[in-house]
């Protein structure tokens, strides 16, 4: 399993990649391996505002359909349009080609509540 050191994680297997006042959100390598081959991803519109805990995406695999919840509040700045034609990017490369959305953080303090690499690894094990 690949869990990059610079990312933050959640117990529901989302990752957050902070970038100044923005953050990129996606699902972890563990999440994609549990879901199996992903066949469809529903993403929100740019400009949508979410509060922490809200569902922002739906990921459908051959095994299951899962809601993905955001661990941080903010406004969607960008979405990964490539996933519409290539949902497999999330299986192949969840952290870079398979990112889901970029969000402008309402309160960067929320990042402090997320898990770091060691905490997440311990949780997954």
């Amino acid at each position: 399993m690949n869990f990059p050191k610079e990312l933050l994680y959640t117990k529901t297997h989302e990752f957050v990649k902070p970038d100044g006042n923005n953050a990129v959100l996606g699902i972890t390598d563990y999440a994609q391996s549990q879901l199996g081959d992903i066949v469809f991803i529903e993403l929100p519109d740019v400009g949508t505002k979410f509060t922490k805990g809200e569902k922002f995406a739906v990921v459908e695999s051959v095994k299951a359909v899962e809601d993905i919840h955001t661990p941080v509040s903010g406004e969607v700045m960008e979405i990964n349009d490539d996933l519409e034609a290539n949902p497999n990017f999330v299986n192949e490369d969840p952290y870079s080609k398979g990112w889901l959305i970029k969000i402008k953080l309402d309160s960067p303090d929320e990042l402090k509540k997320l898990l770091n690499l060691e905490q997440y690894k311990e949780f997954v094990d």
Binding site: D37, F40, V62, K63, A64
Partner: protein
């Protein structure tokens, strides 16, 4: 043998059926129908096959189908019981097949009596006072009930707009609740497979409108805390909705209203032996508590002065949810099933459904890891834990069963069980059939040790080998093209 599509048969510009000339004066097509609305290619290249050619094509196709009339079908959560042929026979009697819903009520007394009595049976089975037979499927029943709950709260407490859904629920539950205008929130299960009471309590807020519980739940377990749950739900002013998909484990043993259920649907194709699938028609009657009765869809079937009538008197009715009175052909088969078995027979259905599932659970527990080690209801869930080290996944075990002419069980559901393999034998199978299944499952467990590749590459003996499910889901071809 490969069977080509009917469009790919060679044709010879024949006139395969000769119609009597006098009866069918030849007219131009556009005099009879609006040909503008037909695409150019629809009729062009239509194969001119003779009747025997058409019949043989479809009979050959039908032989490629797996069906309960031919083999065992232990598909968990779906209750694939055998459908008695007497249902088909009686429902085709002329008195049923030649009536029309627009006939005068006086001429429909027979079928109305049947529908009325069937409604009474569902009331008895659920212990709830209101019934409608209109919904055309289980999920349609859910939606109808949720619309009624929505209407109730709009009249009484508009802030109540959250429906709680356990993480073991059927996918239709959150879908129905959202379609009816509710928000849905997921509730966790605990390590025993029951509802996590602490998580439930944390969500019983002012906006709580109800919870949708499948009883027994989709793990095949009867929630030990059901009475505590229903007490909490009642105290919070919400409804306890029961998804009746698993009623095959309760009939004559548990009356849902006795454990606090306020509203529920029945799946006639599961519990009451009406045909499954093929896209329908289905039927999902619902029964409701007195608080919801005034919202039932009109018309209701009532009996007065020894006559059966339609009543449109329900003041708060959410309206009709189905043209005419429901899928009568399906309702009729359920009625015949109930009448054939009687109250005592339905109880025995439940007893055998639960006994058969537990017999399989005990017989296989040494070779497949049960997801839960307690007594199950009408279905049992295993995982691939004992097979995992040789790389054999639940999918492979399911596919290998096809080689032995047994339908694959439900796999990867419920989602909270890792690599779930869910088996529901139903009451209609003999001990010999079930013993044969157990032997084959043991054989596959042995094969997984001795020759894992044999299992991983299954199926070997079927018409179509391993299908590319990912490709099919990612780039489905939904329309035939030449």
């Amino acid at each position: 043998m490969e069977e080509k599509l009917i469009f790919n048969y060679k044709t010879h510009k024949r006139e395969p059926i000769a119609l009597p000339y006098d009866d069918f004066q030849y007219k131009n097509l556009d005099e009879i129908i609006d040909t503008e609305s037909i695409s150019d290619n629809a009729c062009k290249n239509f194969p001119d096959l003779s009747e025997p050619e058409v019949v043989r094509h479809f009979i050959r196709l039908s032989k490629l189908n797996f069906n309960i009339d031919e083999n065992f079908y232990p598909l968990g959560s779906c209750t694939m019981k055998y459908n008695p042929k007497v249902n088909e026979l009686i429902s085709r009697f002329k008195g049923f097949s030649d009536i029309h819903p627009a006939q005068d009520v006086e001429d429909l007394q027979g079928i109305l009596r049947i529908l009325f009595e069937l409604g009474e049976y569902f009331k008895d089975l659920s212990g709830l006072p209101g019934v409608t037979l209109q919904p055309a499927a289980g999920a349609h029943g859910e939606l109808t009930a949720l619309f009624m709950m929505k209407a109730y709260f709009e009249d009484t407490a508009p802030n109540k707009n959250v429906i709680l859904i356990p993480d073991t629920s059927h996918g239709t539950n959150p879908a129905s609740a959202q379609t009816a205008g509710f928000k849905t929130v997921k509730i966790k299960s605990n390590a025993d497979g029951d509802t996590d009471l602490e998580d439930l309590k944390a969500h019983l807020n002012d906006d709580f409108a109800g919870i949708m519980l499948t009883i027994p739940n989709t793990l095949g377990l009867f929630d030990k805390h059901i009475l505590e749950i229903s007490k909490l739900v009642r105290a919070s002013g919400g409804f306890l909705y029961m998804d009746g998909a698993n009623m095959n484990a309760l009939m004559g043993k548990v009356i849902p209203a006795d454990v606090g259920v306020d509203v529920m649907h029945f799946n006639l194709h599961k519990t009451f032996s009406t045909p499954h699938g093929g896209g329908g028609p289905g039927s999902g009657p619902i029964t409701v508590c007195s608080k919801l009765q005034r919202y039932l869809p009109n018309p209701l079937i009532i009996k007065s002065d020894n006559q059966y009538k339609f009543s449109y008197s329900n003041s708060g009715s959410i309206g009709k949810v189905k043209e005419y009175f429901g899928n009568i052909g399906v309702l009729l088969k359920a009625y015949i099933y109930i009448k054939s078995l009687g109250a005592e027979g339905l109880k025995r259905v439940t007893e055998f459904a639960v006994l058969n599932a537990n017999y399989i659970r005990k017989s296989l527990e040494d070779v497949y890891k049960p997801a839960f080690s307690r007594i199950c209801m009408h279905e049992c869930v295993f995982t691939n834990e004992y097979q995992e080290k040789s790389g054999v996944k639940t999918l492979h075990i399911a596919k290998r069963l096809l080689d032995y002419h047994i339908h694959a069980p439900t796999i990867y559901f419920p989602l909270i069980v890792h690599e779930a393999l869910m088996i529901e034998p139903t009451e209609t199978e003999s001990k010999e059939t079930i013993d044969n299944f157990i032997e084959i499952m043991k054989k596959i467990a042995q094969e997984s040790k001795d020759n894992p590749d044999l299992v991983k590459n299954a199926p070997h003996n079927v018409f179509r080998k391993k299908l590319d499910e990912v490709l099919a889901a990612r780039s489905p071809v939904l329309k035939w093209r030449r």
